[in-house]
């Protein structure tokens, strides 16, 4: 394996608020290789999103270290792109201006980078929509704008926080294909958080199953080569796919029953 592009070492995270302190993650070790597509699955409350936030640098871990691209994470950086569950496009900005917001924040909005914005909008099937406003677009189109917004700043790694879960099924499948295809073509590393086991199995090279109480890594499942190579919609139809899904399903159900006891 190459030098990992993202890695978490001995990471634990505690949330503190008025009600008290709660342990969200405990002793997480995780290395992600360049170009790898890794999914995190697990029951709600297992710390999936916390893990993603730590990688994004939204807050530092309570214990342990997080590195991206060999450097310790010190806050959000342009090297890391993040896609949220909802598109959160600004209703007062046009599609083009929405896609360019990362460039504006970095002070890099100019003719050349705006050409890149238009290129990405075209690439993601949004040609001719640059002047429209978000409310004029469907949910699937808006989420593609959000993807363009993330890719325009040319991040090395992408963190995907359930970006498909709010979409209708067939748009979700189309977008899964589009995202996987685009990331594979660019050779980007990606971490996807999802609660959809089939989505995780169809899109990833590796699936990490997390358990809760506190959040920990239960198992890693490597996805067989043919499924990895195929676009997600096709992967779902392959013969081997069912066994991968069953394996994850079993792991998941197991986690609900025993995971708590082991750590409780």
């Amino acid at each position: 394996m190459n030098e990992p592009v993202m890695s978490l070492k001995d990471v634990s995270h505690v949330y503190v608020n008025d009600k008290g302190a709660s342990l969200a993650l405990e002793n997480i070790h995780l290395d992600i290789a360049p170009g790898e597509f890794v999914s995190l699955v697990g029951p709600s409350g297992c710390g999936k999103t916390t893990l993603l936030s730590l990688l994004a640098g939204l807050f530092p871990p309570t214990l342990g270290s997080v590195t991206v691209g060999g450097r310790s994470v010190q806050g959000p950086s342009p090297a890391v792109g993040y896609m949220l569950q909802q598109d959160f496009l600004f209703p007062w900005r046009t599609i083009r201006d929405n896609a360019a917001i990362g460039l504006e924040i970095a002070g890099r909005r100019n003719e050349k980078t705006m050409a890149a914005v238009d290129h990405w909008l075209g690439e993601l099937g949004l040609e001719g929509n640059g002047g429209r406003y978000p409310h004029e677009l469907s949910g699937g189109m808006r989420q593609r704008v959000a993807l363009a917004r993330t890719l325009v700043t040319e991040p090395d790694v992408l963190l995907l926080d359930e970006p498909f879960s709010a979409l209708d099924l067939h748009i979700k499948l189309q977008l899964e294909d589009l995202v996987q295809h685009t990331l594979a073509r660019l050779g980007k590393t990606a971490v996807l958080v999802t609660h959809d086991l089939a989505e995780a199995a169809a899109m990833s090279d590796r699936v990490i199953v997390l358990g809760k109480g506190p959040g920990h890594i239960r198992r890693e499942v490597s996805i067989a080569e043919p499924i990895r190579q195929a676009p997600p919609t096709e992967a779902r139809r392959m013969a081997q796919f069912q066994s991968v899904f069953d394996q994850l399903w079993a792991e998941f159900n197991d986690g609900d029953g025993k995971g708590g006891d082991q750590h409780g």
């Binding site: 600004f90 099937g125 700043t153």
Partner: protein, 309 residues
Amino acid sequence: MDNRSPGAEKGSQSDSALSESYPSRDTESREAAISGVQEERQALMDGLYGRYKAKTRQIRGLAALTQLAILVLSLGLWEIAGRSKWIDPLLFSYPSKIMELIYSMASDGSLWPHVGATVGETIAGFLLGTLFGTALAALLWWFPFVSRVLDPYLVVLNSMPKVALGPIFIVALGPGLLSIVAITLMVTVIITTINIYNRFREIDSGYIKVVRLFGASRAQLFRMVILPGSFPVMIATLKVNVGLAWIGVIVGEFLVAKIGLGYQIIYGFQVFNFTLVLSSLVVIGVVATIMYQLVAALERRLTEGWRER
């Protein structure tokens, strides 16, 4: 990928795609047989739509007619009651006398300085109130600790009738324009601050996360998300402030002015000329309505296309 994208687009607008694809598929396959059915369907829908439109038009007309009838009846009754001395015309005057006075003051030009002064003070009051209120809200947002400390003071100030501070302003700023604007500002600024600051805090955290993930500074967050996201509320507050500013200005003019519609009311009261009092009220009603409608039109212009999910 290019073939996929148009497909994705069509799929994502599935509602309209579905409702369109059914009839069109029918027409392709059985065009001749179906054409009669299609006309029939169109006729049915046109009929229903026509009936719906006729009904809404009818209700609108009836409402307008009733409104007009109420106006004419009450004015007529007032006029008759005044002229036949059922009510004391010295105290209550009557519409034709009021209109006559307004007309004569308008034509000899003595009305306009009063209207000008009052309108100027009102505009200054609600613009400054909205501006200062927004600035204060920004301050509270920028320094959460300040907001925490000031919270009880804001609550007390907001519950207090601000015009009660009038005498203090008059002593401090002298009896004149400055005091009137200060009173108006006081009436509008606190509620503006509270409304806009609340909106600042209600901005969906997802939007904030988006810019934070791009590494935005606090100033960028404010300029790109918080301020534009609060824009409709700021405009709506402007509208509320038009009404509040009128209260401040009229009370201020009651207290100190030598000119203005509020001054005319007080003057008319002192010399027992209630026709003057009532005509000033009518002018205020007209001018205040025009001002409100202008701000409402401005609101529609500025928030056009601006729509939240």
